[in-house]
């Protein structure tokens, strides 16, 4: 049977061959639960996607869907660190200097349109990723590759990446592990207008376990399994529907009444209630998010490290965790001491020595620095200036709104006056970057690759360090970061990062608050779910529903 693609393709500047899908292998029968194959998963997402071309995609939800349509050449697992597994690239090797990485591709792969998938597609993708005219958000992935020859094709199925120096192996593989794109389609496209290419906006061509079936803007994105897939097993689920539901409360009610099967995030306060629903199971994903209090080091109040340490000692962080992240006798947070997630086991120190919560000592420390309440108004002063500042946070986050109030009270007890202000999120984030704040309560979603340079290294002409909001600068830390980013020896690297995190903690440019665990909820009929810090839909091709419990039979 031959079917013409919808008209959007017919009138576009891409010419596509007629597709004969029935010619593809209908794989999957050899899978252990194949007799239970079928059913549909409905996932609620809070916002619409931007597009599915990995070269120009920015938005996270779209990125997660994209990775099921156009996956990376290698697969990943996580066990204290990222582990790379074969996929389209069936094997790889390093040279002796650990700067040259050679991938060997499988020879039997095809794109969903029937064209062969080779290492040439990867070379072509990297040409686009690295091209300044394309303006890919992932351009920086090529920063540590040889600018003259970042990669070279050694044959149709072999490609080599040339790095400038050896560093953390997982990070190197990630830098050389971006998703492939079909060369035969994009070759003739205008590279400056990839954002408007149908591959991005309407109909991606991939090689992954799913393909895009339908995207109704602001309503839903439907992906259907592709039984010709070879880079992953054929999914048991027949399709996944991403339903766009901006309101969290509506998502909860739809989950309760079985209209959706999955919520990507369930807030801590609702966990006990959601767990009690008889059709829903809650899964824990681990620590990816943390909140911190940033001190603007350019502000005379916070210039002295001793002052910042005193402020941290005045804040009851355990109390914050108890007040904000504990519900129904369960604690969903842990104290933070760095920007590295506790999930990165090699670098995490479970016995880290935190500064004590000791308001008395905080007060004597500040007094020793000359901060005393000389006029008896309850607020410390020095040379006629009061210890008073504005503590900002973003609006729309109840947890942070509560946190700043508790912190304000803690600080008031030692005579420090914090005035609270909340700013609209986009403005807040822009202000942080412009360093237009005195103290700010904000958060990070932590990456799984160790690279503290953007947050902690001193800016220079070449590296503006966009996320160094506090203007932190410590030559010793700078040196350690450079050293850490230049070693491929895991033991040595772990030593360096541990030392660095300790130095930064001693300096207290942030008062590190807490990591919070994230949770997602899925209907109980789905089996084979492996909760993972990497993504909520981790290995969704292994999810299955026993035939008798199938809800969607078509």
């Amino acid at each position: 049977m031959k079917i013409l693609l919808p008209s959007i393709f017919a009138c576009s500047f891409v010419s596509l061959p007629l597709l004969g899908f029935s010619a593809f292998p209908q794989g999957g029968q050899d899978r252990p639960h194949w007799k239970d194959q079928g059913d549909t998963l409905i996932v609620a997402v809070s916002g619409d996607a931007d597009g599915f071309l990995p070269i120009v995609n920015e938005q996270a939800t779209a990125g997660a869907i994209m990775s099921l349509i156009m996956p990376a050449p290698t697969d990943s697992a996580f066990d204290g660190k990222i582990i790379t597994l074969p996929s389209a690239a069936k094997s790889w090797e390093w040279d002796k200097t650990h700067t040259k990485l050679t991938y060997h591709f499988r020879k039997d792969l095809k794109w969903t349109d029937g064209q062969a998938l080779t290492a040439e597609d990867m070379a072509f993708a990297y040409k686009l990723y690295g091209d300044p005219e394309v303006a890919s958000p992932r351009q920086s992935y090529l920063e540590r590759m040889d600018p003259k020859k970042p990669f070279e094709l050694l044959g149709p199925y072999t490609i080599r990446f040339n790095f400038l120096w050896p560093y953390n192996e997982q990070t190197m593989m990630a830098h050389a592990g971006l998703s492939l794109v079909p060369k035969h389609i994009l070759e003739k496209a205008d590279k400056k207008r990839l954002l408007y290419h149908p591959l991005h906006t309407t109909k991606p061509i991939g090689h992954g376990p799913f393909r895009l079936l339908k995207w109704v803007h602001n309503q839903r994105i439907v992906i259907s399994r592709w039984r010709g897939v070879k880079t992953t097993p054929v999914p048991y689920l027949k399709r996944i529907i991403f339903k766009i539901l901006p309101e969290y409360q509506t998502q909860l009610k739809e989950l309760e009444t079985g209209k959706i099967d999955m919520m990507e995030t369930v807030q801590e306060k609702d966990l006990a209630r959601v767990s009690s629903w008889k059709n829903v199971k809650v899964y824990k994903r681990g620590f990816r998010f943390f909140d911190y209090l940033a001190w603007n080091l350019k502000n005379p109040l916070f210039k002295e490290r001793r002052v910042r340490r005193a402020l941290t000692m005045a804040i009851n962080i355990d109390g914050l965790i108890k007040a904000l992240l504990s519900f129904d006798g369960k604690v969903y947070g842990t104290k933070a001491y760095s920007t590295f997630t506790p999930e990165l086991r090699e670098f995490y120190d479970p016995h880290f020595q935190f500064l004590p919560f000791d308001p008395k000592k905080a007060k004597t420390e500040l007094a020793a620095m000359g901060w005393k309440d000389s006029d008896g108004d309850g607020v410390l002063d020095k040379d006629g200036k009061k210890f008073e500042f504005t503590l900002v946070t973003n609006s729309g986050n109840p947890r942070r709104a509560d946190a700043v109030q508790i912190i304000q009270q803690d600080l008031a007890k030692i005579g420090v006056k914090a005035n609270l202000e909340s700013r609209e999120p986009v403005t807040f984030f822009a202000d942080l970057r412009k360093k237009n704040f005195e103290a700010a309560l904000a958060g990070w979603s932590a990456g799984l690759f160790p690279d503290p340079s953007d947050i902690w290294q001193t800016p220079d002409a070449e590296h503006p360090r966009l996320f160094n909001f506090t203007s932190y600068s410590n030559p010793e830390a700078d040196k350690l970061i450079d050293a850490g980013l230049h070693t491929a020896n895991p033991a040595k690297e772990a030593r360096i990062w541990r030392k660095l995190l300790k130095i930064i903690y001693e300096d207290q440019p942030y008062t590190f608050l807490y990591w919070k665990s994230s949770h997602f909820a899925v209907h109980k009929r789905f089996r084979g779910i492996q909760p993972n810090v990497l993504s909520v839909l981790y290995r969704v091709w292994d999810w299955w529903v026993p035939k008798a419990e199938h809800k969607v039979k078509y």
């Binding site: 303006a135 958000p137 351009q139 109704v216 901006p246 409360q249 509506t250 969607v552 078509y554």
Partner: protein
């Protein structure tokens, strides 16, 4: 009359121009710009610069303004910053959804409102008037988003199968997908979907948002109708009608209502912008993909072209709505003449 309309239309042109200029200035005064959206994880400043250049944000504001004005005069609203499509296509996608929802709730507002108002007026100080007044005051003072959330909570509890959000139910979505898979991927076709099913599904999805959106307005219209009817009922010509033996129902429905509705009809013109702006909160809560949601998302994303286009459309409708209200006034009330 014609001269009057022409005069009004001509004077609204500079008004709209002034509005557009003011909007442009206001939007550029709001802190943050669209390129902020693109600063996520590890984006280089060169990349942000490139993005700004692509969006034309590197040019002086006055140049941006001139370009925008010229394009708008040619009905070209540009491309959305946030998702690579033309502004007109995004507006045209959201507009029909909002029109559907707001038309239904307008019918509710005026249908239910006028009915409640008449009963209240005719039965003034009776129990039914008392109850209707209480109910309409209660509904009128209820924030609509709260009402919406309560409706969701209650229906989830008492009618778990009733749709809570969106425009299309899960079953229809699934069947549509199965049909498309059969067509495009050669999967076996096992389902049937009738237009009747689709229509019924859409109607079910409309009930809650239309009700949440319209009920407060209906309560308002009811109060309006009541006081207007009460005034009319006491007038001499009504007494005359009754005296010459016209049946009571006829007196109310024909003589009183026609006159009592004059101020209500003018309200209709003022509701025109509402038809298109949708309701920001209601659309978000019920995940209704309409104009309200489009506008809010655009504001959050600092998507200037979308904000400008939608605001201008609304401003235009306010002007037209006012004009229409004035004209309607003259049409239904022969005592009013525009010269």
């Amino acid at each position: 009359m014609f001269a009057y309309i022409l005069r009004r239309v001509l004077t609204s042109i500079p008004l709209l121009f002034l509005l557009a200029t003011l909007l442009f200035i206001l939007i550029h005064l709001v802190p943050g710009d669209p390129s902020d959206l693109h600063i996520g994880d590890r984006f280089s400043p060169e990349y942000v610069e490139q993005i700004k250049k692509n969006m034309g944000l590197d040019q002086p504001v006055i140049v941006q303004y001139g370009k925008w004005l010229r394009n708008v005069a040619l009905f070209d609203f540009g491309e959305s910053f946030a998702n690579n499509r033309t502004v007109s296509s995004r507006v045209l996608e959201a507009l029909p959804n909002t029109l559907l929802l707001s038309t239904i709730s307008l019918v509710l507002i005026f249908g239910l409102g006028v009915l409640m108002g008449i009963i209240s007026a005719v039965r003034q100080y009776h129990l039914s008037d008392f109850i209707l007044t209480l109910v309409s005051l209660f509904l009128y003072s209820m924030p609509s988003f709260w009402l919406a959330l309560m409706m969701i909570l209650l229906s989830a509890h008492f009618m778990p199968s009733w749709p809570l959000s969106g425009m299309v139910g899960e079953e229809i979505i699934g069947k549509l997908a199965a049909i498309q898979e059969a067509k495009e991927f050669g999967e076996p076709l096992t389902v049937h979907l009738s237009n009747w099913e689709i229509l019924l599904d859409r109607a079910r999805h409309l009930v809650m948002p239309a009700f949440a959106l319209g009920i407060a307005g209906a309560a308002g219209v009811a109060r309006f109708t009541r006081s207007s009817m009460l005034e009319i009922i006491r007038q001499d010509f009504i007494r005359t009608a009754r005296a010459k033996g016209v049946p009571g129902r006829m007196v109310i429905m024909k003589h009183a209502l026609r006159n009592g509705l004059i101020p209500v009809i003018t309200l209709l013109g003022l509701y025109l912008p509402f038809l298109v702006s949708g309701a920001v909160l209601i659309e978000s809560i019920f995940a209704w993909p309409g104009m309200g949601r489009l506008i809010v998302t655009a504001i959050n994303q600092r998507d200037y072209p979308v904000i400008m286009a939608t605001s201008l459309l609304l401003a235009f409708l306010v002007v037209i709505g006012n004009l229409l209200a004035d004209i309607l006034y003259a049409v239904v009330d022969p005592r009013i003449r525009y010269d």
